[in-house]
């Protein structure tokens, strides 16, 4: 109730009364303090030192400025999110000093205004509740931010997982001398989004020979794979081939991760392998290509009805042979005795579901791109370095097994209606996780977030995994704040009735 209410109170025909109402209402809100009210002028003289300090911080103008600043800053955040994505908005707006600063000001303002109103009266109840409620919510958020866990976990159907992936990114370097056993030599949290490395200011990792330098960061790139010849003899072979008949025309790359490690391309009814040929076929249509020296490959064709080779021979780059099924011709387009994969990157202005980020690595004078959540091998004369730039994965200490995954669809359509995961957890047993029905276990909560499909069939379920130590405080704060709002209306009514009664008794 404020001065604008006067026309209604005209029925009471009491100018004084309405004035009292206004003052009372304002004090109830903590907007004007007792000192503004002549009868309580004594308070004015008892101002404590605390109050003197807090006075300027408790001003209403500051409150309005803080509220408007939060509004403005978060509004900018939503536009950043619309232009880029939620991660960019978080990095550029919500998780910045500006945001924390304003929130800090809000907290100071709220505390100061409460100190300023000391000693509290009964009519302050709603004001105290609402403000303390907001402070509790803020405190809860700080707890969540500091100690909470918020990540995601992908579990394939029939598989299990105990690692949660979070938004933090790490750069990890492993080294190996034999190519089999790796030891971690560096693990470092990096935030390339906000502090990208540059040519002038690279991130340097010392190595036994020379140094590994990260000299560039690309935020949004669409990668496409490319295979190039490698100078190192520790890399495997690469083969570009074509499978062709009147219906089929496929061109593919096969690259071995290490020399002699089998690489496979599966075409469904037939498989093509690059690597050592086994003595017997496995009962499928298979072609094995084994590198022989620098420029030729030995090929062996198995048919599904026999263990014995159907055909063998030697083929060179540009050469071809017929494996003897469905008139198919197999042609070797390119053969590299030592090959490695690299990426062609197409930079974009905005992120799309196809973009990822990448860093440029320089080692021994050679430049290579390393994609986010991918790895890169750097070969030296003596050994090999393995470099990863990836989201941090946290072990939750127990595995979550996805036993079954079902998608209900709206009748006669492919539109998902609901999806649920049947999961098993040690010591807990089996349960179902679905939208709006999470699993709570050992302080963690598992939510059904989404699922992955391949050829129209679900292959994996994605959970959001979360631990929130600030939850209780946030809920309590919400409750206290809501109570404050309710009290506001309740006490107003009481004040009004009391005054009316007083009026009538006169």
């Amino acid at each position: 109730m404020d001065s604008a209410d006067i026309p209604i109170k005209n029925r009471l025909k009491q100018k004084v009364l309405s004035h009292l109402l206004v003052v009372d209402d304002m004090t109830a809100h903590g907007i004007i303090s007792d000192k503004d009210w002549p009868p309580l002028i004594d308070c004015f003289n008892n101002k404590t030192l605390m109050k003197k300090i807090f006075k300027p911080l408790a001003s209403l103008k500051l409150a309005v400025v803080v509220i408007l600043s939060i509004g403005l800053l978060t509004a900018i955040g939503t536009f950043v999110e619309a232009k880029y994505d939620a991660y960019a908005a978080k990095k550029l707006v919500y998780d910045t000093v500006w945001m924390y600063g304003i929130m800090g000001f809000l907290a100071i303002n709220l505390i100061a205004v409460m100190v300023d109103r000391l000693p509290w009266k009964r009519r302050h109840i709603s004001f105290i509740f609402a403000h303390i409620g907001i402070l509790m919510i803020l405190a809860g958020s700080v707890l969540t931010m500091q100690y909470g866990l918020d990540g995601s976990m992908r579990v394939g159907i029939g598989e299990e997982n105990n690692m949660v992936q979070v938004a933090n990114t790490d750069l990890v370097v492993y080294s190996s001398f034999d190519g089999d056993r790796y030891s971690k030599v560096l693990e470092k949290e990096v935030d390339f989004f906000l502090q990208p490395p540059t040519e002038k200011n690279p991130l340097t990792i010392p190595a036994f020979e020379g140094e590994i330098k990260i000299v560039d960061y690309a935020k949004y790139v669409v990668p496409s794979r490319r295979v190039v010849a490698s100078e190192s003899t520790k890399t495997g072979a690469g083969l570009r081939f074509q499978v062709q008949n009147s219906n089929v025309n496929e061109v593919q790359w096969l690259v071995q991760r290490k020399p002699n490690q089998l690489a496979v391309q599966n075409f469904g009814p037939a498989q093509v392998y690059l690597g050592i040929t086994p003595p017997k076929g496995s009962g499928a249509n298979e072609i094995y290509l084994t590198p022989q020296g620098k420029d030729q490959l030995k090929y062996t064709v198995f048919h599904k009805d026999s263990e014995k080779p159907f055909k063998t021979g030697v083929v060179k780059e540009g050469g071809s042979f017929e494996p003897g099924w469905m008139g198919i011709q197999f042609r070797v387009l390119r053969y590299l005795p030592h090959a490695m994969e690299d990426w062609d990157l197409q930079p974009l202005e905005h992120p799309t579901p196809l973009t990822t980020s990448a860093v440029k690595v320089v080692f021994n004078g050679k430049e290579q791109w390393l994609l986010m959540n991918d790895m890169l091998k750097l070969f030296t004369d003596k050994g090999v370095y393995l470099l990863t730039y990836a989201n941090r994965r946290i072990d939750i200490g127990f595995p979550l097994r996805l036993k079954e995954f079902t998608v209900d669809r709206y009748q006669g359509t492919t539109r998902a209606m609901a999806y649920k995961s049947q999961v098993a957890v040690p010591d807990f047993g089996e349960t179902e996780i679905s939208m709006n029905e999470p699993l709570k276990w050992k302080g963690l909560t598992f939510y059904q977030a989404s699922f992955q499909e391949e050829n129209g069939k679900p292959v994996a379920s994605v959970f959001s995994v979360n631990q929130d130590p600030g939850r209780f405080l946030k809920y309590l704060g919400s409750l206290v704040m809501t109570l404050g709002i309710i009290f506001l209306f309740y006490f107003k009514r009481m004040d009004f009735l009391a005054l009316k009664k007083k009026e009538q008794s006169k």
């Binding site: 907007i31 309005v64 509004g71 939620a86 006669g412 209606m417 999806y419 939510y447 979360n466 709002i485």
Partner: protein, 552 residues
């Protein structure tokens, strides 16, 4: 149509209501009640036809003919429609790409799809889709065109007319896949339909019409038996079907706004000419409109089995309902009269907009996204938040009236302005009282189903910004920083934040987790609406400053 006739019609419709929903259909229209599976639910053929015609033509009638007749003839003789202008294309860029005139809005299938250009555009759209980037208005328009083409050809081929339930499973059988007996029965139906159309075209007398009509109804009945024989349980949907056809026919929200229009006229007379004796009939009309509005809302709730607050159209209907409710309650308490006027005007505008812009505000009944399938949360979170918009909308309407008071003379209207500011203040308080808990409830739901209480998602952020805006206004008012004019200006200016939270996030930003409510279109109108009001505030401000300067 004259107003008198509309009132008579309204009274007739209301008496029809009292007869219940199971009223007999007109002869020849049994076909409208035929169950069909489409877009994930079973609906009457009537709804299917209206929605399909809407997609292609942008309206639910074509040259005065009802949708179900049009849709059936598409299938019976697609070639006859080749040269008819039934495809609505509004995007100039698309028209340019197709080499078509920009003066027209409707085009024939020959014009649009007869050339290679359409194929090229489809490829362009497909490659754009493969990049998974957000589609801009041009590609959205292309997508609509592709959808129009798809829908028309699917109807023409009969693949979209899924009229018979399967013996097993849940995908219904389309006309294209009928077995022989089913085909025979459907053929009979179409023959009778063609006969009826012929009779209508000849302008024959009513007896012939009746005969042809009842023949068609009999054929429909026989077809229903054939369909039912396949799967009795899946075909037992009559109550819903009848209710839905009634909902389509009665069009409750249109009646509601007609009644609100009448109420607004009376209230304007009361307001401008002080015709106090009109207050009673105005109240009567407001309540009547509100009842029809509530009835329509109830029908929709029944049909969908959930509170209808999940897309823009539904929230517009719900918000206008809330505005009327709050205005009635506040009017009852304060008896200022203009509260009811503001409420009826806001309700009127909302419902007219909802009814006039079906392409932007989709009125069809759509199944829900998985995450929204929780009636409990949907009710308490979405309804609380959107009802707060209703209170702010009322404050906005009151703000407009307040500006008019200032133009009509600040001095002589001082009392009224003060009363008006009281009403604005109350509306804002009601709004805050719903919005703050609504946001918290949203946080709790998000915590419960996504695992975080607050994630700076654009929708929740803008709801918070709107709340902060109104909190700033209320605090500034209590602190004496904002006077009467300031309150009136704030009621209008701050509502822009609500428009951003309500419409802007879904239609302008189009980002975030609340992606189930996204849409396109209408940006120019909405921003125009906001701009006009902001200019109005500035104009009155300048006007008032000028006056004050003159006085001093």
């Amino acid at each position: 149509m004259t107003i008198m006739r509309r009132i008579t019609l309204l009274i007739l419709s209301l008496s029809f209501l009292s007869l219940g929903l199971q009223a007999e259909a007109k002869t020849g229209e049994a076909i409208r009640y035929l169950p069909i599976q489409d877009a994930g639910r079973i609906k009457p053929f009537d709804s299917f036809s209206r929605e399909t015609l809407e997609v292609v033509y942008g309206k639910t009638k074509y040259e005065g003919r009802k949708a179900h007749e049009i849709i059936l003839t598409w299938m019976l003789s697609p070639s006859a429609w080749q040269s008819r202008k039934i495809f609505e294309v509004r995007n100039f860029q698309v028209l340019e790409a197709l080499n078509l005139s920009k003066d027209q809005r409707y085009f024939s299938s020959d014009e649009l799809f007869g050339t290679d250009r359409f194929t090229l555009l489809r490829q362009e759209l497909q490659s754009k889709r493969e990049t998974k980037e957000k589609l801009n208005p041009y590609f959205q328009a292309l997508q609509r065109l592709e959808n129009q083409f798809f829908v028309f050809s699917e109807v023409a081929s009969g693949r979209m007319l899924k009229l018979i339930p399967p013996v097993e499973g849940d995908g219904w059988i389309s006309v294209a896949d009928f077995n022989e007996a089913q085909q025979a029965s459907f053929l009979e139906l179409t023959k009778k339909f063609v006969a009826l159309i012929g009779v209508v075209a000849q302008g024959a007398n009513s007896a012939d019409l009746d005969k042809a009509g009842s023949d068609l109804d009999t054929a429909v009945g026989q077809f229903r038996e054939v369909a039912k024989a396949n799967n009795v349980a899946a075909y037992s949907v009559d109550t819903h079907i009848n209710t839905e056809v009634h909902y389509n026919d009665f069009h409750p929200f249109r009646w509601a706004y007609i009644v609100y229009l009448l109420a607004s006229i009376l209230l304007l007379l009361v307001w401008t000419l002080n015709k106090d004796q009109l207050m009673k009939p105005a109240w009567f009309l407001m309540i009547l409109g509100f009842l029809i509005h509530t009835y329509g809302f109830g029908l929709r709730t029944y049909l969908m089995g959930r509170p209808p607050v999940t897309n823009m159209y539904e929230t517009v209907v719900w918000v206008s309902w809330g505005t009327i409710l709050f205005s009635v309650i506040l009017e009852k308490i304060y008896k200022f009269r203009f509260i009811l006027l503001a409420g009826s005007l806001v309700g009127l505008v909302c419902l007219i907009v909802a009814d006039m812009a079906p392409v932007v505000l989709d009125p069809s009944l759509q199944p829900l996204e998985p995450v929204l399938r929780s009636n409990y949360w949907l009710t308490i979170h979405v309804m609380t938040i959107t009802i707060s918009y209703a209170a702010f909308f009322l404050a906005f309407g009151l703000g407009d009236l307040g500006l008019i008071y200032y133009l009509r003379g600040e001095e002589k209207n001082r009392e009224k302005i003060r009363a008006l500011v009281t009403a604005i203040y109350r509306s804002m308080q009601i709004g805050v009282m719903f919005l703050a808990p609504g946001i918290i409830l949203g946080g709790i739901w998000a915590d419960y189903s996504w695992g975080r209480f607050w994630g700076w998602d654009p929708k929740e952020t803008w709801a918070l910004i709107a709340l902060l805006g109104y909190l700033a206004v209320l605090h500034a008012r209590l602190g004496g920083l904002v006077k009467d004019f300031g309150m009136i200006a704030c009621a209008i200016v701050t509502f822009s934040l609500v428009i951003m939270a309500w419409y802007g996030v879904n239609f302008v930003l189009g980002a975030g987790l609340h992606s189930y409510g996204f849409g396109a279109g209408g940006i120019e109108y909405v921003s125009g609406f906001v701009a006009v009001h902001l200019l109005f505030v500035i104009y009155v401000y300048v006007y008032r400053r000028g006056k004050v300067a003159k006085l001093s």
